[in-house]
Structures are given as C-alpha cells and as structure tokens.
Amino acid sequence: MVGWGALGASLLFVLVAVALTGREHLGLGRPILVALVRSLVQMAVVGLALVPIVDPDTPLVWSWLWVVGIVGFASVTVARRAPEVPGLLWVATGAMALVAATGVGTIYGLGIFPLEGRTLVPVAGMVIGNSMKAAVVGATRVAEALADQRAEVEAGLALGMTPRMASRRVVRSALRTAISPQIEQTAGLGVVFLPGAMTGLILAGASPADAVRTQLALMYVILAGVVIAATATGLGTLARLTTPAQTILPLDRR
C-alpha cells in the first residue's frame, strides 16, 4: 500500500518534469500543476463516492448513471481542448457515447466480465478515459492541421474537391497521430508496459494467468475504442469546420 508520504514523494519526480518544461519554455508548468491538483481532488471524491456505487446491494442503475457522467465529463474535456471548433461538444458527446455503447456492449454482451457495479464503473472508465485522450488528440490535431496546411487544403478546394477530399491527407495524418500511441501500447504490452489492471490484479492476489487474460480483453476493447473515438471526433471536427459553401472556417495557427 502507498501511504501519503510515499504519494508525496512521487511528486518530487513531477517537479523535475515541471522544471524541464520551464527550461524549454513549453508553457506547461501551470497545466501540469493544475492536473496534479485536479487528479488529487477528483480521486479523493471518486474514492469516497465509489464505495456505495460498487456495493453489491446498490442498484446497478447508479453505476450506469456514473458511466453517463464519465461520458459527459470526457465530452466536455474534449470540447474544451479545441474551443475554436464550433459545436465540438456535440461531436465529442456522440463519439464518447458511441465508444461507451460499443465498448461496454462488447464487454458485457459477450460476457467478458459479469455485469456488476464493481466491474462496470472501472471498465467503462478505462475504455472511455483512453478514448477521451485519443479524441482530444484527434480534434486538436485535425484543427491544427487544417490551420497549418491551409494552403494545401485550399488548393484542393479551388480545384473543386470536397472539403473531405481536399483535407484527406492532413486529416489522415492527424488521425494516425491520435491512434498510433495506443497501437504502440498494445504492441508493447508485456514487454515494455505492464499495465495497471494486470498489475493491480496481481498485487491483489489474482493469478498471473487471470490477470493477463483480463488485461488483454481490456486492451483489445480499449484499442477499438480509441480508433472509434479518434476517427469519429477527427472527422466530426472536419465536418464542424466545413461551411455550407464547402470551405473550411479560418483558424488561427497555434
């Protein structure tokens, strides 16, 4: 078990990261500190709130409501990362809901895990959480690429290409950027990464074989969720930036 002192010690390593970002003028010192504080508060609240939710005597509807909350929070997070994209909240909500429906549907529809509060909340959290990260990268990279590569996209539009066709190359590149880390993580599973769920299960006393199967099932669903989320959000971002006159809204370069 990790005590408060040990938790504090882990922050020392983060200070190195903050110093590094400051030295390189990345402007990420404050976001890292905000992320640390938010994670601390959120995990404390979630830890307390999860106890009654995952209690076997608590009706499952509360777990489902928790999942809806995760979808909402993830959608707002995605939309806030690319505020220049109008209506991105609806795109993100659609993508996150799609991932939740297909991911959770696969896991419980095929009986990979028993449908209980103690599995539903963490499993949905892992699937949607990883998908959220990919959706953020998908939305921001597509928006950035359309700003950075505007000359190429407009050259295509001027030839009579549809916005989808004119931006195909830059959008593909953005989506690869969003999806590739999860592919690498899946490919490096067990060799480079010993992921959290497996580690947790082993630490909790489960057999390594059970832990491996559980982790693999989760990783496969997460990989699919990431691809769905990044693609839906990236293409949705392009659609939201397309005008009725088949042009791309002007965006400032970051």
Partner: protein, 234 residues
Amino acid sequence: MVPPLFALEGVSVSRRGTNVLCDVDLTIVDAGITVLVGASGAGKSTLLRCLNRLECPDAGTIRFRDDPLDDLDPLDHRRRVAMVFQGPTPFPGTVVDNLRAVTPDLTDDDACRALHQVGLDPTLLERSADALSGGEAQRLVLARALTTGPEVLLADEATSSLDATATHRMEELARSLADDGMPVLWVTHDLAQAQRLADQLVVTRAGAVTWSGPAADPGAEGAVRNALRDGAPW
C-alpha cells in the same frame, strides 16, 4: 448582349471587425486578361477568392455570367473557375499524381498534353512534385488546374515567388490562354507586370475599387499611381 464574366454589387467582406472589401461594385468583361492591381492589403486576393467562392461576402451579390454565385453549386463552380495561388501548392506524390488529383481517369497522353500546354517536359510525369523547381511547380499547379477544363483562370500573385524567367513563362501562358478564349483575372502588386499583361485594369485601394476600365484608357495611369504611391510611373 454578352453578360459580364463577373458582376459585383455592394460586395463587402470583413474579418475580425476590419473591412477587407467595402461595398464593391465592379463589372469584369468576359475576355482577355483583367489585371487587379493594388498595394498589399488592398483586398485584391479577397476579391479573387470571392469569385472562386473560397470566401463568401458578408454583403452584396456576385454574378457569374448572370447567375448569382449563391445559386451555383460551389464545387461545380470551382471547376469552371480555376484558381492558382501565390506560392506553388503541389500535392505530395508525383507530377502525374497531381494531374490526376481531380481527374483520376486522365490518360498518360492527356497528362503529357497537359504538361506540354504549360511548357513542361512530359518526361517529368513520374518525378516527385516536391523535386520540381519553384517555376516548374507553379506551372504544374497551373496544368493541374486546367485538367478540370475550366472556363476562367484566376491567378493570385502567381509569380511573386518566381524568378524572372519563370515569371515570363507564366505570363506567356496567361496570354496564350486568354488568346485561346479563356478569360484570365490576374492579381498583382507589380506595376510592370500589370503593364505587360493587362487588357483591362481594376485598381483597388483600401478594400475599394477606385478605378476600372481598359488598360489603354488615359485615366489608368493616374488611378494606378494613386493606388501604388511608391510604384514606378505607369
């Protein structure tokens, strides 16, 4: 009576509260080379982009051969009204990939003819577009634009990044296209180039059209001098 190529009435465009085009009324004749001349920031490029529908006016109407642009399908309109930009914008891939970007069924013979039309050697077909010189790349972009069989060519400072030889070739191409019946609208802030090319002249200043008419008109000189205060004499 032949309708004008483009007719603009009360066209205004603003960006972030700044007027880029202010209440522009303009008629562009359906023949020869019309040169839009003005200092940087005078609204020339925005005007050209509106004609290709890459940009939509905030107010006013634009007609293309009597048809309001708003009534035309934008993708179809852009194939009829080709546009080349300031910097060469070849797509990644080979020269022939570029030529087939919007006309995938273009045969090798058609591709060779397209290159020949712009004065490029057909042996360049399989070369990477990124390996072309600036002048070659701009001519490739022009050849690519011509593959859709456009009726009009818009050129937005198309030679500003080219050397004198490449600029001369592009001007010859524009003249050749115009002489073959394709009206050309050519944007420049280069007075000498405007003198060389213009059959008709449109002078812009601070988002407004201050003068338009035949380049040989005696009033052209004063209008251009006013618009380009630091320019050479007309």
